[in-house]
């Protein structure tokens, strides 16, 4: 596996002063054409081996920020810096960057005309030029890693939501990304299957993967995140380690958001 996996996570949460930012957002502004400002000057960092959770009410811009990270959406003002370099503004330049980031979608977006194995193998084959044998062997290993070794020949419609999402995670991992972006990975799942996906994500975190997770699963955020960012209406209203956000938030809106979710700490 890649180098990131070799650095085991720290048992304690919070930010070490000497860790390196993988992603940095500097005053990012985005408007939807002729309309509302969706991101209103976002500045934050994601450090190596860190798990950052983005939480906040719907429409706060969390998903948009994630999609700006890998260029599915383009920003208007400011910059997104990845591994020390600002993200290019053109589509083709972004293509090279995207190989180094993995994304997991709320709706899984598995390719229905390919098997689970095929879904995982197509990235390396089409983008990296990996041979079919190597790609499929790696895909089989990844399937085992997410607990679906026996589903290699299954098509997405034959899998449950939780299984599909785990295949989607494996598909993203097949590219050996330096950072994984999760866009509300469990929001479209039945309650029974949420756990199996969160467990895979927890395992990834423990292996040291740098992760940015947009989520409503507060328990997951509290237990697994190193850093929590609370967004509301396009701005960051508070950010800090989970102990701060979930137990002693400093901003009133954070408190009311969490209490609306029934969060009692």
């Amino acid at each position: 596996m890649s180098a990131v996996a070799q650095a085991p996570r720290q048992a304690s949460r919070g930010r070490a002063g000497d860790s390196v930012p993988v992603l940095a957002y500097r005053n990012v502004v985005k408007r939807f054409s002729g309309g509302p400002v969706v991101l209103n000057g976002i500045s934050m960092e994601v450090r190596r081996n860190e798990v950052v959770c983005l939480i906040g009410p719907s429409g706060s811009g969390k998903s948009t920020l994630l999609r700006c990270t890998n260029g599915l959406e383009l920003i208007d003002v400011g910059e997104v810096v990845f591994d020390g370099k600002a993200l290019p503004r053109d589509w083709n330049g972004m293509r090279r960057m995207r190989r180094r980031m993995g994304m997991v979608f709320q709706n899984f977006e598995l390719f229905p005309h390919k098997t689970a194995l095929g879904n995982i193998a197509i990235g390396p084959m089409a983008v990296l030029g990996t041979s079919r044998e190597t790609a499929e062997a790696q895909a089989q290993a990844l399937l085992a890693k997410v607990g679906l070794a026996d589903k290699a020949a299954s098509y997405p419609f034959q899998l449950s939501g939780g299984q599909q999402q785990r295949v989607a995670i494996a598909r993203a991992l097949a590219m050996e990304p330096e950072v994984m972006l999760f866009d509300e990975p469990t929001s479209a799942l039945d309650p029974e299957t949420i756990g199996e996906v969160l467990n895979v994500m927890k395992q990834l975190a423990e292996e040291g993967m740098t992760m940015v997770v947009v989520t409503h699963e507060m328990t997951f955020a509290q237990r697994v995140a190193d850093w929590v960012v609370v967004m509301d209406r396009g701005a960051i209203i508070e950010q800090g380690p989970p102990q701060q956000i979930f137990q002693a938030p400093t901003v009133e809106r954070t408190r009311s958001f969490l209490s609306h979710l029934g969060w009692s700490g």
Binding site: G71, R95, R99, F105, E109, F111, H113, V127, R171, A172
Partner: protein, 219 residues
């Protein structure tokens, strides 16, 4: 009035040749018009304004012209425009292909547009390029999705081959009517012609119904 139905059996061989040519016309036209339709759809979706406009104009033009007029025009215009002396068969195939490609162009455009945006996004997120995504992810799904429509288009095409009889292409309609002219057996030959088309066309129509039931779009 006496009827002589044996005129049909006596000319069975010739009629069969007519049927063969009908089938050949349909297959050849579809073989040209499926890639043609895909090409038109991709042009329509391209970012290059000229390509997109040209494709839209082509599709609108041929969907709004009677096919029989296209056949006649091809017959008179092509020799002058290209300087080549093409056989009626080739001219007929050209006319049919222009027409069916236009319909397929719209079919494939709608099919491609019906594939969720998220599918392309997932491919881009892996680092795939626009053409790669189209080739590996979007087109395979779109083609499966439009199969029922293509089946209907095939049945229409099969019937439309009868129109090239007006430029003396020896398919089933032309052959039947020529035998009628030679033998003066009007009712027998015309009824036989209708019956043969019916025998060929009825199962095809039922097959299309079955395909629509089985593979109709659900998403």
């Amino acid at each position: 009035m006496t009827f002589d139905w044996s005129v049909v059996s006596r000319n069975a061989g010739v009629l069969l040749e007519g049927v063969e040519l009908t089938v050949l016309l349909a297959i050849t036209t579809m073989a040209i018009s499926i890639p043609g339709g895909i090409a038109l759809a991709l042009m329509r979706l391209s970012n290059v304004r000229a390509l997109s406009a040209a494709s839209a104009a082509f599709v609108e033009l041929f969907r709004n012209l009677p096919l029989i007029l296209v056949v006649y025009t091809a017959y008179y215009v092509m020799p002058v425009a290209t300087g080549l002396n093409l056989s009626p068969l080739t001219t007929g195939i050209v006319a049919l292909s222009l027409n069916v490609s236009a319909y397929n162009g719209e079919t494939f455009r709608a099919g491609i547009a019906s594939i969720r945006k998220g599918q392309s996004e997932a491919a881009y997120a892996l680092g795939m390029g626009r053409w790669q995504t189209m080739k590996e992810i979007v087109l395979p799904q779109a083609v499966r999705r439009v199969l029922p429509v293509l089946a209907s288009t095939w049945v229409s095409l099969f019937k439309d081959t009868s129109l090239v009889s007006v430029i003396s292409v020896g398919e089933l309609a032309y052959t039947s009517m020529r035998i009628r002219a030679q033998t003066f057996r009007v009712l027998e030959m015309l009824t036989a012609m209708a019956a043969i088309y019916w025998l060929l066309g009825y199962p095809q129509a039922k097959l299309v119904d079955w395909i629509n039931r089985r593979y109709g779009v659900t998403e």
